[in-house]
């Protein structure tokens, strides 16, 4: 399951596909691309609470959390 935070959430929820099957070749980077999110606006990614690189390959049942890049003051 993919969860988007802040401005990234709408990309996940708009497509209605925040739950989808992944195969072993599917990295976090591929998921971000699939959801049509600008990868520069994803600051951090966690999988089941652990910080991962965008090259990480999640497994079925994992919770993938995408944190938006935030820098306003």
């Amino acid at each position: 399951m993919v969860k988007g935070f802040g401005a990234v959430r709408k990309y996940v929820e708009e497509k209605g596909n925040n739950v989808f099957e992944v195969d072993d070749l599917f990295s976090v980077r591929d998921i971000i691309k699939h959801l049509k999110i600008n990868p520069d606006l994803v600051a951090l990614v966690t999988v089941n609470g652990d910080r991962v690189s965008k090259d990480f390959h999640p497994k079925d049942g994992d919770e993938i959390f995408l944190l938006n890049m935030v820098s306003g003051g």
Binding site: F5, G6, A7, V8, R9, D40, L41, A43, L44, T46, V47, G49, D50, R51, V52, S53, D55, F56, F65, L67, N68, M69, V70, S71, G72, G73
Partner: protein, 290 residues
Amino acid sequence: MEKAILNKLKERSTTVSGPDGNPLAVLSLSERDSLCRYFRLSPREVELHSLEAGIVPLRYLKNIGTLSVEGQRRLLSSKVAVVGLGGLGGLLVELLARVGVGGMLIIDGDRFAEDNLNRQILLHEKGISLVKARLAEKRVRDINSAIEVERWEGFVTEKNALHLFSSVNLVCDALDNISSRLLLQSTCEQLNIPLVHGAVAGFSGQVTSIFPGDASLSIIYGEKGIAVERGTEVEEGILSGAVGMVASLQAQEVIKILTGKGAALQRKLLVIDTERGEMRYIQLQQEEKT
């Protein structure tokens, strides 16, 4: 402390019921000012003498149950830089002045613009086009005359950063762009002082405290050469409540670090999205899984 000062402090103080129910000696603002004139000391100096004698300036009475007299003394003897005096920084200087952080270096090279009115607490309608650092300085002095405040009407650069922060105990990152935030981090690293980071966009925001060696901003934003200079606030804008929430959390981090109370958000990013009422911590210390 000179005995004469101690004697006068005792003479001019009154007794109230303290937070633990026991009698507590307090000093009113008018008596403080009278002692400033008598001994030719600054308000901050008199308040520090007072706290050292266990006499609480009345203005801080409601801090004492949480911070203790010694914690208040530590705050008053500290100097903090607030970099960026927009949404986050404007509220931070207000909160830090009220709680009694005794020295403040406030930095911003900008003037207020009309579209700042939705969230920047220092700005009122007649303040548009005024220099942010000047309004911030006035606000601090109006709130707490014991605060020794210096302002820098300019931006932090690689040339001036080390010099600017050489006399402060802690820096608050209330900036609005990523490269300047990373410059603050490297400067604090060199000066061996903590940095309290806050950032906002739309309904959401984040806070963390960075100590020398942590380099947490490099984890969040990437190293130098990052692809973007700003985040999703470009499309989302910033709501005043998100600013208030994050600046308040930053102020609490400053208080904890300076007094040694509680636990700072070190190597831990607190992210809050009020649109759904969600918050979570992201651990920043471990290597990411690949």
